[in-house]
């Protein structure tokens, strides 16, 4: 069946050959012969299953392999984080001991708090700066804006390792002591572009005439921003903020280059502890980080829809004037 359909898909690009017996297609022709023959018109299958033609079955297999490949290791990490034994091969029964161990470890706890703090600070600053940049890029029209547009994309395409090394060199050159502050600065630098790209998308969809209408109706520039632009952008801003939170929270490369001695962010701490042997606590930490990141991303994805339905008007009620 699948072969038959692939043959037809190919046939769309070439004039259809009634009996494809070319050298390379012998197998296909044979496979075709072994099938139950279609009716005299040769169209029986097409009529009975019209939807199958543009959905070759092997694509489902590709998707299935991809899903297993991606999610099986994650599922195993989650499963073994609840393992009663120390083994990373055999599941010896359910237990939450590795979670207790994690929270009992002051160093790991400190790292968790550091990571959360870094993520929150990065999120706030990068979201504000990125939103301002997006507004400027979309609304300002001058000769520099195409240049700014390209510069803005640089952090997205520069390999993180390069960004990490550059940040490290910069901080040591200017004599800044590596600490949580340097990590936050590095994270902000590379997060701004993400915010800008997300917010800019929404902003481009916002008709310029809407802002002019607000001015026309007596709102000053500031009032227009506060009462019209921000409420329209709000879902995108919140989504961008949560994505930045997730990115910053589990970032390793940048953090690794810019971190001080203590406290180290969680991913860096995990990396150093793995060098002294893997304990199942890693699985528990991994699962916890996964939960935090997935929650942030899920909220980011769901928010525009929830806010969209209620119009994002939560910020200004009817009597706000």
């Amino acid at each position: 069946m699948a072969r038959y359909r692939i043959g037809r898909l190919r046939g769309d690009k070439r004039p259809p050959t009634p009996v494809p017996r070319a050298a390379g297609e012998g197998g296909e022709a044979a496979a075709r012969d072994s099938r139950p023959r279609p009716g005299p018109s040769g169209r029986v299958d097409r009529v009975s299953r019209p939807r199958d033609f543009d959905r070759p079955r092997f694509l489902r297999l590709v998707v299935a392999v991809f899903l297993v490949w991606t999610f099986a290791p994650i599922a195993i990490v989650i499963l073994f984080s609840f393992n009663a034994g120390r083994s990373l091969q055999n599941f010896d029964g359910f237990s939450t001991q590795w979670y207790s161990e994690f929270f009992a470890n002051p160093q790991l706890r400190e790292s968790l708090y550091a990571s959360l703090g870094i993520a929150v600070a990065t999120m706030i600053v990068a979201t504000i700066l990125g939103t301002m940049l997006a507004y400027g890029l979309v609304r300002a029209r001058n000769r520099l804006s195409p240049v700014t547009n390209v510069i803005m994309l640089v952090p997205l395409v520069v390999p993180e390792i390069v960004a990490g090394v550059t940040a490290l060199l910069l901080f040591t050159q200017v004599g800044m002591e590596l600490s949580v502050t340097t990590i936050i600065l590095a994270h902000i630098t590379f997060s701004i572009s993400f915010v800008t790209v997300i917010v800019r998308g929404r902003l481009s969809a916002l008709n310029r005439e809407v802002e002019e209408a607000a001015l026309d109706l007596g709102a000053t520039r500031t009032q227009t921003l506060r009462l019209i632009v921000l409420p329209e952008l709000w879902p995108a801003i919140v989504a961008a903020a949560l994505i930045i939170f997730a990115l910053s929270f589990d970032d390793f490369v940048l953090s690794f280059f810019t971190t001080g001695e203590t406290p180290q962010p969680l991913p860096v701490r995990i990396y150093s502890s793995i060098r002294f042997g893997v304990t199942p606590t890693i699985n528990a930490i991994g699962t916890l980080m996964l939960v935090v990141s997935v929650t942030a991303i899920a909220i980011a994805l769901a928010l525009p829809r929830v806010l969209g339905r209620r119009g994002g008007g939560v910020l200004i009620g009817r009597d706000a004037a």
């Binding site: 005439e209 809407v210 002019e212 209408a213 026309d216 109706l217 709102a219 119009g311 994002g312 009597d319």
Partner: protein
């Protein structure tokens, strides 16, 4: 609704040799028109003729490169958009999607700190005016195009501006709704007595609603006058061609006060002052002024052959070849007298004619 006489007289907007350039391109050139209070004034022209730029300069979104604009006698160049006593109805409606209909309409009043009760009453009255009472809780996305249009109108009118600016407000509506809204807009304008400045590229819209029309082309006003003037007595070929279908015949002025078209045709036509014999001119005749076969006393009469016939329902458009490459389009109105089989076929010989006063000589 009675309007005080003094509010209906005097000027609403005056342009004094206003020019607007974007880089090297001139959008508006040496504009000098005065719009009276209470007038329904249309700026008509093809896209890119500067009509929207003109409107945006009045609203304050653009500043003139040269010249001055006066609003009710006061110069406005230093007044920001949010302090000008004008309101705009945008082509895209530009409604605030996150606010409901009530808050959209109330937006302007709230910015001016109007009291709660007054806001409620005036918004209700404005929604009544545009026949949208009962939809005040709806969000813009729940409304149809025509309803959004009405909200945009109510949102602007509720502020009782000195001038209402409308930028092709009916452009996004389908034909039937557009016709209906044309009638309503005109009615509303009469009711509220506010000066309307209406930008459109649709000649029928301009003709049906306006007190006066300014026809614009490449940034300049080519003719400004009442709809009848602009339609019946276009001063330029562009106006004749842009408003309605127009027949243009090339010719030269004959010594006997007639126009010679081609080699053999001599057409009597009222010549403008100072037209010398031998001057190249164009003759313009509106299609609906042309009679086929049943000529009246005093008509110019020409022989021709039917070249094409297009049935348009209410009218039939007939192309007549006059020889020498000259052709005319005639519109024949369907009436209670005509029969379905009573029609022109290509190849038929026909006599066409028109009253001399319906023929314009354009230089």
């Amino acid at each position: 609704m009675t309007v005080e006489p003094e509010t209906r007289t005097g000027e609403a907007i005056r342009f004094e040799s206003v020019t607007k350039r974007f880089g090297d391109a001139e959008a508006v050139v040496d504009l000098g028109i005065t719009i009276e209070r209470g007038e329904f004034f249309s700026l008509l022209g093809p896209s890119g003729c500067g009509k929207t730029t003109t409107l945006r300069m009045v609203a304050g979104f653009e500043q003139p490169s040269e010249g001055r604009i006066f609003l009710e006698g006061e110069p406005v160049e230093s007044v920001p958009p949010y302090r000008r006593n004008v309101n705009t109805v945008f082509q895209s409606y530009a409604l605030f999607e996150h606010l409901d209909v009530f808050e959209n309409v109330a937006f302007g009043l709230r910015r001016r700190g109007t009291g709660r009760d007054e806001v409620r009453d005036r918004v209700a009255a404005a929604l009544e005016l545009v026949q949208l009472h009962g939809r005040s809780d709806a969000k813009p996305r729940e409304l149809s195009g025509g309803q959004k249009q009405r909200v945009a109108l109510a949102r602007a009118l509720v502020n009782r501006p000195a001038v209402l600016l409308l930028d092709e407000p009916l452009g996004a509506l389908d034909l039937k709704l557009r016709r209906q809204m044309q009638v309503e807009l005109k009615q509303i304008q009469r009711e509220v007595g506010i000066t309307f400045v209406y930008v459109t590229h649709d000649q029928e819209e301009a003709l049906s609603m306006s007190d006066r029309i300014a026809v614009m082309r490449e940034g300049r006003v080519v003719q400004c006058g009442a709809p009848e003037d602009v339609y019946e007595r276009p001063t330029e070929e562009f106006v004749a061609g842009f408003i309605g279908i127009s027949n243009l015949l090339e010719g030269t002025v004959d010594g006997t006060g007639r126009v010679r078209v081609g080699a053999a045709l001599l057409v009597p036509a009222p010549l403008p002052d100072g037209c010398a014999a031998g001057e190249r001119v164009r003759l313009s005749v509106r299609p609906e002024k042309i009679a086929l076969d049943q000529l009246e006393e005093g008509m110019v009469s020409l022989e021709g052959t039917i070249e094409a016939r297009v049935y348009l329902g209410m009218t039939t458009q007939i192309t007549v070849a006059l020889g020498d490459g000259a052709r005319l389009v005639a519109l024949e109105q369907a009436t209670y007298r005509s029969r379905a089989d009573d029609r022109w076929e290509p190849g038929m010989r026909v006599t066409i004619g028109w009253h001399p006063e319906h023929c314009l000589v354009l230089r």
